[in-house]
């Protein structure tokens, strides 16, 4: 039984082509996904991300609970509203999911986890929360919109009261706050500035229409994928999963091994992997010629062996194909990718591919 977000009817009215994503009927594109992509890089776009799971975690011991549960350290979150990107690992160091957690109060954190993994994640979180008497409340009453692009914050602030708008525009990157009854965070998954807004489901349609009226373009999952890949951001299920660890997924930067006393789940396994050296790493790839790199294509690395593309697409900003790939740790420079039986030249680069709306690589 496919699930619908509170905006399903509106997406139909707007003429969206729908696609199944993790069991949810979601808009892929409303017209041209490339036009939607450019709108976010140049102006502002809005995405329905209500399929993602918002979970409020409450209790006196919520902080030590999260310090056990997550590979990144919530101990870094000192100011209320500050957010942290982290992986949640299993005992062998494999990635159960990646998520963002917000510090909202002494006894209250909010986590946002991926749609496709929500059931697995909630079961895992609940099981470990029990040891710390932390309550887990899934916020199915909330919808979530991502408004992204250089004009996004200004346009989104236009939906709020004057005081609310001032408060929203004062938010620093990676901070969130409750404003006018909505939770507004300066976070995103596109590489552009913007907000992610968690709001009562009943407000979602009105908010979307108001954004459209203000010139914010409706954008679907197609553009969401090309944007995040240009920004070098990982997609769970493609770039990492339970059989891969953060060190071979370009996510070592999200693992806090200091302080040493913090025994988070998966720590021992990760330290062992780190000690012997991870045999693989995640890199960016730029296809030299025409064509499109796609998941699972084989990467041939001279003198080092083989790798595999984890995510590939056509980059509308660079006007060529880009990818993330898992390759042998020694791989560097020129490689070839097997595209439909023919080896095509590509080269290893360091993501991101785009920053501040501009191509970083030629």
């Amino acid at each position: 039984m496919t699930r619908h977000t509170p905006l399903f009817d509106l997406h139909q009215k707007l003429g969206a082509r729908m696609v199944d994503f993790g069991g949810w009927d979601m808009p892929l594109q409303y017209g041209s996904q490339i036009a939607e992509h450019h709108a976010v890089r140049r102006a502002a776009g809005v995405f329905d991300v209500s399929h993602m799971c918002i979970a409020d975690l409450t209790g006196a011991r919520v902080r030590p609970f999260l310090q056990r549960l997550l590979a990144n350290d919530v101990g870094k979150l000192k100011s209320p509203g500050k957010a942290l990107y982290s992986c949640m690992l299993n005992e062998t160091g494999g990635v159960i999911d990646d998520l963002i957690v917000y510090f909202l109060g002494d006894s209250w954190f909010r986590a946002v986890v991926n749609a496709g993994t929500r059931d697995k994640d909630l079961a895992w979180i609940r099981r470990h929360a029990a040891d710390f008497a932390v309550e887990v409340r899934e916020r199915t009453d909330l919808a979530m919109l991502a408004v992204q692009g250089p004009d996004a914050r200004a346009k989104a602030a236009g939906l709020l009261s004057p005081a609310g708008a001032a408060g929203a525009l004062a938010l620093e990157p990676f901070f969130g706050r409750e404003i006018d009854g909505w939770f507004i965070a300066r976070t995103g998954y596109t590489g552009e500035d913007g907000f992610e807004i968690m709001l009562p489901a009943a407000d979602a349609e009105r908010a979307w229409k108001a954004l459209n009226s203000a010139g914010v373009v409706s954008c679907g999952l197609g553009a969401r994928d090309t944007l995040r890949l240009e920004a070098g951001m990982s997609l769970y299920g493609n770039d990492m999963d339970e059989r891969t660890n953060p060190l071979e997924s370009g996510l070592a930067w999200t693992v806090a091994l200091e302080p040493r006393e913090r025994t988070f789940i998966g720590r021992e396994a990760l330290e062992a992997i780190r000690a012997r050296g991870p045999g693989r790493k995640l890199v960016g790839l730029l296809l030299e010629g025409r064509g499109v790199l796609r998941s699972h294509q084989k990467v041939l690395v001279p003198d080092a062996g083989e790798g595999e593309i984890t995510s590939g697409t056509f980059s509308p900003t660079l006007e060529r194909s880009i990818a993330l790939a898992r390759v042998p740790a020694a791989a560097a420079g020129a490689v070839q990718v097997d595209i439909r039986g023919k080896p095509q030249d590509a080269r290893i680069v360091r993501p991101p591919f785009v920053r501040h709306g501009k191509a970083l690589l030629g």
Partner: protein, 131 residues
């Protein structure tokens, strides 16, 4: 709701054919096909002089979503490939029956126009496919 011009012929694999005044055929992919593929980013078209058999793949169109072979409805010799698509593949999306043409071909004598569909037959086909 796809656009299906009544003056063209069609194939089951979603190509269209237009007979030009000099007797050559202009071939492309239909509005239904471009819509299914999504935003096109590359189109590989044949060089003039290439000889084709009926049913042979003569072009590849690639969207963000997938790459797709395009099949020649006739045997013949290519007189032109649409070189403009190298810089503007999206013309296939916006003008599938006009600027989005893929190739022109001089059909071999007695060439197989057998399996071609009329506009009405093609409309029925795509309706049955749910498009």
């Amino acid at each position: 709701m796809s656009n299906v011009p009544s003056d063209l012929k069609y194939t089951k694999t979603h190509e269209w054919l237009r007979t030009l005044p000099d007797g050559t055929l202009e071939i492309g992919i239909t509005d239904h096909a471009q819509h299914a593929l999504g935003d096109l980013v590359f189109a590989e078209v044949p060089e003039a002089g290439r000889k084709l058999s009926a049913g042979e793949p003569f072009a590849v169109v690639e969207s963000v979503k997938a790459a797709s072979d395009v099949y020649s409805p006739v045997a013949g010799e290519v007189t032109a490939g649409n070189a403009a698509l190298a810089s503007e593949p999206e013309a296939i999306n916006s003008d599938a029956y006009g600027k989005g043409w893929l190739m022109r071909v001089r059909p071999a004598a007695g060439g197989a126009a057998a399996a071609l569909l009329s506009a009405a037959e093609y409309e029925k086909l795509i309706a049955e496919e749910g498009g």
